[in-house]
Amino acid sequence: MTPPARVAVVTGASRGLGAMIAGFLSSEGFALVLTARGGAALSERLLSLRAPGRPVEGVVGDVSDPAHRREIRQAVDRLGGRVDLLVNNASELGPSPLRPLVEVEVGDLARVYATNVAAPIALVAELGPALRRGHGLIVNITSDAAVGAYARWGPYGASKAALELATRTLAVELREWGVSAVVVDPGDLRTAMHQAAFPGEDISDRPLPEVTLPFWAWLLGQDPSAVNGGRFRAQADRWELPA
């Protein structure tokens, strides 16, 4: 009897960074619950990952939708009801081309916050018992825009800054459950979202998401409680454990 596979949930897993992380976790032997808004792209990703002994569940929907989050939990329950790793990767950039903060419609602002701040927190809540059973690690994807004040990146940057503080709060609050939380800034990558931020520009000088593979391998090799509350840059000059 082989031990039950570790279970990972990755949101926004059909393309770019999320798809790369899903592929890496699959080769690490994780059972996967993958989510994305686009059904066709997600199906394609699922097909490429489906292999004997590696269960992969796909859930199509928007992370800001409570019904979608419930479906994610149901998929987790089908895989045994525990989560070892939750990667909140699905993010909303806001209207493209990017524009100054005062020119952003309030509705757009709310949409960015709903996807980037409220949804990850709500998904942690939805998966709370499962995370607790898995002594899980929550990885919330952030950005350097959360730290620097970049013109036209206001909605996205402010939402990620809020997500970072929420994550540090979760790290403190969930510690007694044995659940850990970190934020990871993957750095500039050649992805559809990055292209949307720079419409019409050549972004081929940005590295592919695979450049972050050593970082993910390193992060998953650490004791989650040792990284709890940390902020990591996957393309930094160095990674180390928080003091």
């Binding site: 690490e28 000088d205 590295p207 592919l208 050593p214 390193w218 000059d237």
Partner: protein, 354 residues
């Protein structure tokens, strides 16, 4: 154009194609070129205790070389897989090659299966920006395979293969380097004893080196794709460096790996104990104050190592001393001769007169 503006093929006959033992000399009898602002002086490595002064500190790399080269079977035939760096239990960065003198390219694709002496493995992705390097996932722990079948990584310029112990420095303690941290190569027991008698202390770091220095090429500074390497700077080394600085002694890195490890452990000018991975790239345009000098071998004309030397000693000194080295027939590569470069800011100035 690189800031060092050094681009040359290694002159014929100046690549060390055999180990010092094979050339009929002791390891510590290789030549030593001592270079500072105005001077280049031809010495022997054996003279090192006299060149250094009481109170100086040598920082060495205790990483030991692993037999990282494995014969492998691909769908299209037999190849060699050189393991560079281990990132997780079963994830490695590797360089697949036809053989020691034949890097490729090889017809490889994502998802290809390889057989490494009986252990299955799958190509995950090429390393972005460096197509000759691949992420490889093995079906199980490779440790036994490495211990049983691994050979030291060898390149075409060596006349013969050597057993692993020829690739270990005197300081080798923690296995993990794909290639020998070769700056420590010329040290022998008797030399270290003389250094201690002289009042020169030796402390250590660990940095596991992957496969050879990447070429700078035309990449802009900071844009050179450097893969992360594991390193550790212990607290004892941090305090020894602080004491040396307080007493006016000089800190000399034995090898480029030591400079990278120390620089990676420096935050806002403050050195502290650190353990993690580093992909820090030192460039001539960002001088380092972490060390006062570096002991090293002679490096290829288009490598990140030369940029690092320039970050310590300045581009002008590197350029001039390399011209001298070529003119005076110094030997290149891991079994070649050595160089001691002093930083212009070294507290005692450069003691070339010693």
């Amino acid at each position: 154009m690189t800031a060092v503006e050094l681009e040359f093929p290694i002159p014929p006959g100046l690549g060390a194609d055999r180990s010092p033992e094979d050339r009929g000399i002791a390891r510590d009898a290789v030549r030593l070129l001592v270079s500072d602002g105005p001077h280049d002086k031809d010495r022997s490595f054996h003279d090192l205790p006299e060149i250094l002064e009481p109170g100086d500190l040598l920082v060495v790399n205790e990483s030991a070389t692993i037999p990282a080269s494995l014969a492998a079977e691909a769908s299209f035939g037999r190849i060699v897989v050189n393991l560079s760096t281990r990132y997780g239990r079963d994830l490695w960065l590797v360089e697949p090659r036809w053989g020691p003198g034949a890097p490729g390219p090889l017809p490889l694709a994502v998802g290809d299966r390889l057989d490494l002496a009986g252990t299955g493995a799958e190509l995950v992705a090429p390393f972005p920006g460096v197509p000759r390097l691949w992420f490889l996932r093995t079906d199980g722990d490779l440790s036994t395979t490495i211990a049983t079948f691994g050979q030291p990584i060898r390149y075409g310029y060596l006349a013969r293969s050597y057993p692993l112990d020829r690739y270990q420095t005197l300081f080798a303690r923690v296995p993990g380097s794909a290639e020998m941290p070769s700056a420590g190569g010329p040290f022998t027991d008797r030399l270290v004893r003389r250094l201690q008698e002289r009042g020169v202390r030796v402390v250590s770091i660990v940095l596991h080196t992957g496969v050879s220095s990447l070429e700078v090429g035309d990449a802009a500074p900071g844009a050179v794709p450097v893969y992360p390497e594991p390193f550790e700077v212990p607290a004892a080394t941090v305090s020894a460096i602080a004491e040396t600085r307080r007493s006016g002694g000089r800190v000399v890195a034995v090898g480029t790996t030591v400079v990278r490890a120390l620089e990676s452990s420096t935050e806002s000018g403050l050195l502290r104990p650190t353990r993690g991975f580093t992909r820090l790239y030192l460039h001539s345009t960002q001088p380092t104050r972490t060390v006062d000098g570096i002991l090293t071998g002679f490096h290829d004309g288009r490598s990140t190592h030369l940029e690092l030397l320039a970050a310590v000693a300045g581009s002008a000194v590197v350029r001039r001393s390399y011209r001298h080295a070529v003119g005076s027939g110094y030997l290149w590569h891991e079994f070649g001769d050595a160089q001691l470069l002093w930083a212009a800011s070294s507290p005692r100035g450069a003691s070339l007169s010693a």
